[in-house]
Structure formats: structure tokens, C-alpha cells
Subunit: 186 residues, 2 copies
Amino acid sequence: MSKPALIIVFPNAEDSELIIVVDILRRAEIDVTTASLNDEEYITLSKKTIIKPDAKLSDVESKDFGAIIVPGGHGVNDILKNAKLGGLLKKYESEGKIVAAICGAPYIFTFHDVGKGGAITSFPEKRDDIKAAGYEYSEEDVAVSKNVVTSRGPGTAFAFALKLVELLKDKETADKVDRAVVHIQG
Amino acid sequence: MSKPALIIVFPNAEDSELIIVVDILRRAEIDVTTASLNDEEYITLSKKTIIKPDAKLSDVESKDFGAIIVPGGHGVNDILKNAKLGGLLKKYESEGKIVAAICGAPYIFTFHDVGKGGAITSFPEKRDDIKAAGYEYSEEDVAVSKNVVTSRGPGTAFAFALKLVELLKDKETADKVDRAVVHIQG
């Protein structure tokens, strides 16, 4: 059994990144909870899809998740300094749990010193800001630095999700989901 | 200006395929309407994400869309013989509009003789059924046969969506979205 995963949802989160990660983790039979950061019941994503998250963050944040995952999207700009999110990210990092973000979301880390000194990647336009904040910048599709996992954007979301499956469960499960879904076999 | 696109949503549609197509088409500034086939207000997708489609199909089906697009997912099995959907698919095909499906959804075509005689692809497990129904089976990630566009699964959903952008708008726009989102550039 792998520990459950918490995925943070907020207005204008990037549709594909969020849904690909939820989809792949659930295919790997990892228990996933999507939780609205500010307790919204419905959330309009970046490309206008309206979803109903599984829970409000305040109702589930004390649960023992093994990972916290933040999707990107232009809504990231509205939550960069969110103290509740920053506190949770720091807590997970200090407890050795997985702290993961993709696209614009790794930039949030710089406002809370999450993964400081390690190598992180992000959507390329955030590169200079992240480097200026004292991080090593990786150009890999998925960067793993201790318990901090980051990735670049919608096109790397499958690889990001599969890496999370590998870390939360095992490589065999990740490979199985990869073959079935991403690299479809004849 | 490209014509708007209609995307059919139904219970247990495949989360990633639906959302990737919506996301990419909207990035290309194509007017997209997600419409619930049986007029449900909220729909639970295959991997348990709950979405609120933009419209009920009965409210928008008479609008002049340039394409009808059907995602896959195990809910496909419940709508194979849906007369409303079958009728719409045939109507779009006969009018020379784009008729598109991915994963398990191309199998729906065989129940309504959509794209009959042409080459279509699908999630591999549907191959034999599709061939037995009198279709040429393609192993391409995206197959285009006259105005019928088909694809294989979550891992080919970006390529499928980008082909739809190319056909509904132009290659230049598809390449621009591809570079920005899928093949992320430094």
C-alpha cells in the first residue's frame, strides 16, 4: 500500500496538468484527494473547465498524506505567497514526504524556501526568477532533488505523474501504467 | 476565424483525453463547447473527477459547429448504440464536418457506419472488433481519413488535439501551441 496523495486545486490551475496527474495516480491505484486551497466547492480551471474537487483543504489537511502536489496554470500567480500553502509545503518537506509541483507552481517554492539549494525545474519562463532565488535550475523534464519533485508543463505532465507513481509506489507499477496509457502498445 | 467545436461528455469518459483536447483547442483560441450527451448537469469521469460541462447537448446540438469530438474511457461501452449520438455523427460526416474520436470512442463509429471503408485507429484492444466491422485499421497515433479523425489513447491525446487545431484552424497555430505546451522550449 502506498500512502495517499494530496493535490491542491485553485482557480485557474492548469487543466491538463491537474487532470493528467489525478488520472495517472488513480490508474496506479494510489488514493488521491483533490482539495480546494481556499475551500471553494467548485473551481474554474485555466481553460474554463469547471470541476468539483473531492474536498476542501481545511477538511483534509490534517490527514496523513504521503505527498503534496501542486499543478501550474496562471492561477499560480495568485497564490505565490499563500501562507497556508507555504506552511503545508514546508511541513511536508521537513517530514521527508514528497513535495511536488509542475509548470509555474515550482515558483511558489521560492517564496517559502521549499527545496532551497536543490535543483528544481519549471515552465521555462520562470527560470531566471527561480535561479535568482538561489536554486539550482534543471532543464530535465522531471527533476528529483531529495523529496522535491518538479516538472515543466503540460507536455511533461505524464512523465511527472509517472515519476510520482514510482516514488509513491514502485517502478514496476509506473512502467505498467506507462505502457498501458502513455506509450500505447499494439 | 475557425468554426466552433463540440465535445461530447458522458459518465466515465476518460479524464485526460477530454481535458487535454479542451485545453489544447482553447489555447488555439477555438471556441469549444463541452456538452453532456444525456443532459446531465454534472458528470463523473472515468477516474472520478467531477466536471460541469458547458451545456446540455439538447440545448446546443442545433448550433453550427465545425467538428464533433468524442473522448474515450470505459463509459464508451454504455453509449455504443446511442441513437442521438449516432445520428449526430452521421450528420456531421455527411456535411463534411470533422468527426473525431479517441481511444475506445472510434468503436462507436462501427455501430453507425461512420467513416465506413476508411482507415481509423483506436485503443489497441478494439482493433479486431473495428476490423471485423469492415474498416481499415491504422496503427498511427492519429489517423485522418477524409473528415474522420481518430486516435489511440491518453498518450496520443496531445497529438490528436493538435491535429484538430491544424484542421480547424491552421498548421501554424498548431505548431505554436505544440511548441508552447507539448514540446516545451528552453
